[in-house]
Amino acid sequence: MPFPISRRHLLAGSAALAGMSALPRGVFAADELVAATFGGTWANVQKEILAPYFSKKSGATVVQSPMLATAQIAKLTAAKGGPAPFDVAMLDEGPALEAIDAGLIAKYDAAKSPNFAGLYPQFQGEYGPAITMQAIGIAYNPKTVKTPPTSWADLWKPEYKGRVGITSLASTLGLAFLLDINRLEGGTEADMTPAFKKLKTLLPNLAAVSANFGAHGALFRQNEIDIGVQNFNFAEELKAKGVPIEFVRVSTGTPAWKTTMHVVKGALKPDLAYAYVDSQLAPDVQAAMQKTPWNVVPTSTKVPYEGIVASKIAKTPDDLKKMVFFDWKKVNQGRAAWTQQFNREIRV
């Protein structure tokens, strides 16, 4: 019987840990990871599924701090050269390229991440794995919008005067919407004039322009807007919560982008950071996240597409390849100027 005592110790220890989680952070900074996440659905799903999985696996705790991708880059830039303000970044494609260019994130060492090899090759990034694919379409309130929309053009219908919502370019959602409009109007990433011209004609219909897609979701919830651009995951989460909302893909092709996770340069806890990212790649985690209300599109070969993901987004990984993608390098070059022009066009 050499082990019972240590077993009891372990039990007592984990009980103590559970009690201590109520204590203020920083007390156990020694084995605490700080990871950035996005607001809204992402914060919720990672808190619910990823954090406990990671804690169980690594024995460490994690602070998940919701920040826009751009805010993450700003904080990392501010702290450049010193210790990083957080260890794991979570970014969309455009900001990820920017962060790589600015030397804010480290190359991803696949050897430290057993689940990395299990991803589809298209998701195995040099600087970090893609953890999902985000797709956008139109969300609407079925109580007030009787004919389901099918294309972006529906947003321009006169009956939706003062009822449409979009987001600003601070979020990838708004950016992707604008890029797609541009594409349909015959523009390219180098020339956004067609998009802004088209945007101008949408103004009478706009009820609100949210700063990010989280705020956008809240507007649906408060019935401030009846129809608008929305992210698939967010719309489905709201629907699952009982908000009257329906998501449809547009007929002209679904704009989509990869969302990636990175270990930042100068991370205080690089090993824990790898463990955290790897946890996000674990089949168990991805399978759990694919379930409603989250509907996170998996990137692991070991998780087959199911449920709403399968019915609305993709039945096979090849379906994902048929979506609409943009040249984010060019987007990054133009973003500052577009933001200014966007500000100008949408001003009341």
Partner: protein, 269 residues
């Protein structure tokens, strides 16, 4: 009698009373709305609620991030108040006694965070700290808060020092007391209410600060108002209402206590 009816006086009083009434309603309206909303039994925030319950208050008990943010905000506010009081009171002692234009200049400098855009200062401080190689932390956050909160302590302390009869201090000295003894036994007790009032305002203003925290907080130290802002803006989470309810109740209790013990409303004018 009718001929001399004072139409002018009547209309004046009527207009002023009506405007005052509107102002009072507008001032307290939002507080009442939030208090009612915080007791909603519904899933979403709609006013007026169709039924009431304590469910969102109960939900606060499990809201760990909210509690953490609350604790961090309290911690930062406490550090801010202590530092603001120590720095502000000692500076006020000099400023109140000096007539030199240099001191007037310093006073203006110390008061200027009140009128300068706090967001611009937050941004400036972020650049400064990153230049110095400080990592955003409770420490940098507190420093930012102290800068914007010192003016409150300084203002109320100066106001109470202005009411302090300098003869009392001279008298104490002439009775053989040292400067320190005089400060401890005479000055401090007599300006205590002003200092406490300033400290209270500084506490509330630190607890409520967004523009400076936005730049200086790090991922670990998310403060309550920003967390609330986040859940209000991103999710219109109904716990936001109950959290606001708790803040309002706590504020009112603190205010009543401060009024009783320090008569702080005098220092607000």
């Amino acid at each position: 009698m009718r001929r001399y009816f004072d139409w002018e006086g009547w209309s004046f009083t009527a207009v002023f009373a009506l405007l005052s009434l509107i102002t009072i309603l507008v001032l307290i309206g939002p507080t009442i709305v939030i208090m009612m909303l915080s007791f909603t039994g519904e899933e979403t925030l709609h006013f007026p609620p169709t039924h009431y319950s304590l469910r969102w208050y109960r939900a606060l008990l499990d809201a760990n991030e909210l509690q953490d943010a609350f604790i961090i905000s309290i911690k930062v506010a406490a550090i801010t108040v202590v530092a603001s009081v120590v720095l502000g009171v000692s500076a006020a002692m000099t400023i109140a006694r000096s007539k030199s234009p240099w001191m007037r200049g310093l006073e203006t400098l110390f008061m200027s965070p009140l009128i300068l855009p706090a967001l611009a200062f937050g941004f400036a401080a972020l650049m400064m700290f990153s230049l110095l190689g400080f990592r955003p932390s409770t420490f940098t956050l507190s420093i930012g808060h102290i800068v914007v909160c010192v003016p409150f302590v300084l203002r109320t302390t100066l106001a109470s020092l202005a009411q302090l009869d300098p003869a009392l201090l001279d008298c104490s000295v002439s009775l053989g007391a040292s400067d320190l003894y005089t400060f401890r036994r005479i000055t401090l007790p007599l300006i205590g209410r002003g200092v406490a009032s300033g400290g209270f305002i500084a506490f509330m203003s630190s607890f409520d600060n967004v523009p400076v925290s936005l730049f200086l907080q790090d991922a670990r130290t998310q403060v309550l108002p920003i967390y609330l802002w986040d859940i209000i803006q991103n999710q219109l989470d109904s716990r936001a209402a109950s959290a606001c309810g708790v803040i309002i109740i706590a504020t009112i209790v603190l205010m009543v206590l401060m009024e009783r013990f320090a008569g702080f409303s005098r220092f607000m004018k």
